[in-house]
């Protein structure tokens, strides 16, 4: 009960922030009803998807300070579980999604146990490695379509199919995802104020001190990693129904892992609004940059260069991202 109350309790946030968040929330609610292009709607869906990935990453990467660059493997596990179960046995989304979470979390325990014996850069590199290995396995595994991937044929179902999450129009996906987005935000709000959230922030500061306060550092990290994994896996499952064609390259590649981490880092790792701000800046930028530059030969990889520049600027100037800048200005005003 107390946990539920804490999830809805935003009273520690400044009023101005809540007003802004509320306004943006209202805008998001009516967004699909505005006379905007299909491209804009698709971009907003990507914004929700990456906000949620970023929120998940933020638990272990932001509050816990464990730079995880292997989140894409859990996108893959979620997406493949849902696709395989639907295609082979006609098991709908709402059942396959939790199964995907169970599989992803189980996998996260198996690799999390040795991974969290590593620290700093070694941890980051190891997460990349595990994700790449899994992707390579999927590329040669015939049961899941190997490198060709899997395709969910929408003709077999009669959209709108709410059980299988098969829709023709993006507006349905938009609202389903909007609900996920709100639930994800509430969960993150609970997490940051939970015992585990506090313990993780203490671990980020100083592991020896954390241990002296009775915290099992290794186990706290593994638990949080599992929470991050659950976020990513749920959205991965959604991704499969939304895109309807998945392959290892576009679910589990390193680009996606980096982009997930980048959302949270740009917006502000270890803050409630950070991942949303990050996705709100990066996703439209990425979409429209691709749209504008896509036609021009030779500069198709422009967006990747942009990410690299952003990473460099953040780590040099403000490791706490956009939210770090906001907080710094506020603190200066107070004093």
């Amino acid at each position: 009960m107390e946990a539920l109350k804490n999830a809805f309790d935003f009273s520690d946030q400044p009023r101005l922030d809540l007003a802004i968040a509320g306004t943006i929330g209202m805008l998001l609610l009516i967004f699909p009803l505005l006379p905007l292009s299909a491209f804009a709607l698709a971009t907003m869906i990507q914004f929700f998807i990456f906000s949620l990935y970023g929120m998940g990453w933020n638990t272990i990467g932001g509050y816990g300070g464990q730079v995880d660059l292997g989140k894409a493997q859990y996108v893959g596990i979620g997406a493949y579980t849902t696709a395989v179960l639907l295609i082979r046995w006609d098991i709908p989304f709402w059942f396959s999604m939790p199964i995907g979470v169970v599989l992803a979390v189980t996998w996260s325990f198996i690799i999390g146990y040795p991974l969290f014996r590593l620290k700093g850069h070694y941890f980051a590199i190891a997460t990349i490695a595990t994700s790449l290995v899994l992707k390579d396995l999927f590329e040669v595994w015939d049961f899941v379509g190997a490198a060709r991937g899997l395709e969910i044929s929408p003709i077999k179902y009669a959209p709108p199919d709410f059980l299988r999450l098969i829709f023709k129009e993006d507006i349905y996906y938009y609202y389903v995802l909007f609900v996920f987005f709100l639930v994800g935000l509430l969960f993150l709000n609970w997490f940051r104020k939970s015992r585990l959230g506090y313990q993780l922030r203490a671990i980020k500061d100083n592991e020896d001190v954390a241990r002296s306060l009775g915290i099992n550092v290794h186990w706290a990290k593994i638990k949080t990693y599992a929470i991050a994994t659950a976020y990513v896996s749920v959205v991965g499952s959604f991704h499969a129904c939304y895109i309807k064609a998945i392959e290892p390259e576009d679910t589990m590649s390193l680009d996606i892992s980096i982009l997930i981490a980048l959302m949270a880092m740009l917006g502000g790792a270890g803050s409630l609004w950070g991942p949303i701000i990050g996705a709100g800046i990066l996703i439209p930028l990425k979409s429209y940059l691709k749209e504008w530059l896509g036609g021009v030969a030779g500069i198709a990889g422009m967006d990747l260069i942009l990410y690299a520049v952003i990473i460099m600027v953040i780590s040099a100037k403000e490791p706490r991202g956009v939210w770090g800048i906001v907080e710094r200005i506020r603190r200066r005003k107070r004093t």
Binding site: A202, D205, V209, R211, S212
Partner: protein, 248 residues
């Protein structure tokens, strides 16, 4: 029954013997001072007792239980808390949040942890700084926050590692008042590592002196101040002259 019993404790780092057969007992309610020159093995002793370092040999019994092989979090859960000598305090957490992390060891409820943290902050006169980030506070207040955080775990025994180092006389008085409060009002047994002699001599019931990893003396503060071995190894002639002690 003794609250803490250390028997023939040995700790080697490679070829270096940092603790060489240290034994002592601590009664509940005592305030024990641990002194000695730099490198004498005081912090190592704390680290061994608190489970940060595995011991090479020897035995540590806390509250009737053999805790020699336990790791730091398990030792903490049995009621043995500590502070760290060098602790770059959190930039991320506020004072109250820091203390709450300690309180969360005994409860999963945020409300209860918050209430307990507020009690401790009030006890140590830190309430005014509760919502500030620790890094914004003066060093003396930061040291008090580390003590408050350790108290959050509701310990029976608290190990304080040089909480007065680097403070001015006024701040030392403040820290002493806090330590006395923890000891007398809250009834926590305390072991204190300290170089600020005035503080140790005035607050401790009993002292143990380490030198080169060995216990060279143990006794009441007055006796220790007159002990020729201690004067030679640590206090020095100047201290004795200034404080009017007589060299036996």
């Amino acid at each position: 029954m003794a609250l803490l019993e250390v028997n023939n404790l040995v700790k080697d780092f490679g070829g270096l013997r940092a603790n060489d057969g240290i034994s002592f007992q601590l009664e509940p309610g005592e305030l024990l001072g641990l002194i000695g020159p730099n490198g004498a093995g005081k912090t190592t002793l704390f680290n061994c007792i608190a489970g940060k370092h595995p011991v090479t040999s020897g035995k540590i019994v806390f509250d009737g239980e053999d805790i020699t092989a336990l790791r730091a979090p398990e030792v903490a859960r049995r009621g043995l808390a500590r502070t760290f000598q060098v602790y770059a305090a959190s930039g991320d957490l506020t004072v109250r949040e820091n203390v709450m992390v300690g309180c969360f060891m005994r409860t999963a409820s945020r409300r209860k942890a918050g209430a307990k943290a507020d009690t401790i902050l009030a006890d140590l006169n830190l309430m005014a700084a509760a919502d500030q980030h620790v890094s914004e506070l003066p060093v003396a207040a930061q040291k008090k926050v580390t003590m408050a955080t350790a108290l959050g775990t509701q310990p029976k025994l608290l190990l304080l590692d040089e909480v007065a180092a680097g403070l001015n006389p006024g701040e030392i008085e403040e820290i002493m008042a806090s330590i006395r409060h923890i000891h007398h009002q809250l009834g926590v047994t305390v072991i204190l590592i300290e170089h600020v002699m005035e503080l140790v001599m005035r607050t401790s019931d009993r002292l143990i002196v380490l030198d080169y990893g060995r216990k060279i003396a143990e006794g009441l503060p007055d006796e220790i101040a007159r002990d020729p071995q201690v004067i030679k190894a640590y206090l020095g002639d100047r201290y004795v002259k200034e404080h009017g002690g007589e060299v036996g």
